[in-house]
Symmetry: C2
Subunit: 200 residues, 2 copies
């Protein structure tokens, strides 16, 4: 799932092997847990894993990618951000709603996202990590593309609606919401997202 950026197939060398990857991800989880997303450094993770920082950059590119791999995020949220911001402003809400619901409807993705959500709901360290990542890598990026007051707050209200929909539809499973086809939810969710992102 999150293995698409795996270095495994790219090289036969020991430093890029499955063991190294596992050690790096473990070191990353340790460093993120100990210092939080913002303060964790690629250099410290490389040191803990006993690999060269250059290798880390080579395989994971950047701290946010390493974070997504370490937490086994089944999707890169930045791809979503790009797709939503690229296009006409009037369609932003519906594009985001369609993208998010398509994702959640894939069983493997949903399973992993729900596991993350449950862990965040019960473990403060994980909640803090998610918070740090979201604020640094997601909220700011989307907010920068908006033309409203308090854009960060608006983006976070959208996130809250997405998290809540996931809880109500997939975790609590309340009916008729749980069995309503995703296509029918897109316009309703899209309208709300549009309101948050663009209404004065």
């Amino acid at each position: 799932m999150s293995q698409s950026s795996s270095p495994r197939k790219k090289t036969g060398r020991r430093p890029g092997g499955a063991d190294t990857r596992r050690e790096v991800l473990e070191a990353a989880r340790g460093e993120f847990a100990a210092r939080g997303y913002q303060k964790a450094s690629m250099r410290a993770i490389a040191r803990a894993a006993g690999v060269d920082p250059a290798l880390l950059h080579h395989y994971f590119g950047s701290k946010d990618r390493l974070f997504l791999a370490a937490l086994e995020f089944p999707v890169d949220p930045r791809v979503m951000v790009e797709q939503v911001l690229a296009g006409d402003r009037e369609g932003m809400g519906e594009r985001l709603a369609a993208f998010v619901l398509r994702l959640w409807e894939e069983p493997a993705v949903r399973e992993r996202l729900l596991a993350l959500l449950r862990t965040a709901a019960t473990t403060e360290e994980v909640a803090a990590l998610m918070r740090g990542f979201m604020v640094t890598e997601l909220v700011g990026r989307v907010a920068a593309g908006l033309d409203v007051e308090r854009p960060e707050l608006r983006v976070e209200l959208v996130m809250s609606q997405i998290v809540g929909l996931a809880m109500a539809r997939y975790v609590i499973g309340v009916e008729p919401l749980a069995s309503t086809p995703a296509e029918e939810l897109v316009p309703l969710l899209g309208r709300t997202v549009q309101l948050y992102l663009t209404a004065p």
Copy 2:
């Protein structure tokens, strides 16, 4: 907190004492867990607790009240429903938003609601119970007061936004959402609720 309907002060007799109350609530939790909200019966709960069904009705009034007491709900959701539905339709969203945020801002209430949310997120039996209760006692009541297509779905979308806001603001604690004063959130949340409940 949820002790306002406690029988303790109403009687000195053994059947209404604190021990009996505890036994009844324990029996209720057992019956609700075993049979779900809809199928659980007051009669079976009375039998399990070794008390007369009439006593149960006398002290708890109805199955939904007993359920709220057994799960230590810090608030009676039906009070909210009444307050929101009574009044002009244009103000419905903002009334609900103000009511919900005022509740969540009370530390003791918030603590208990979050505990319930966490348990529902991690324990399917509790999720099923919440689901049964919400659909039977809440969704239907609010939906009956609406004038839109698929009113149940609309009510559940509102619930999903409320749950998600609680997760984002109080559990994940993402900023600036977590520290924005509730008064500033009321119009933003209210507008969304209004959209779900009244827009065609």
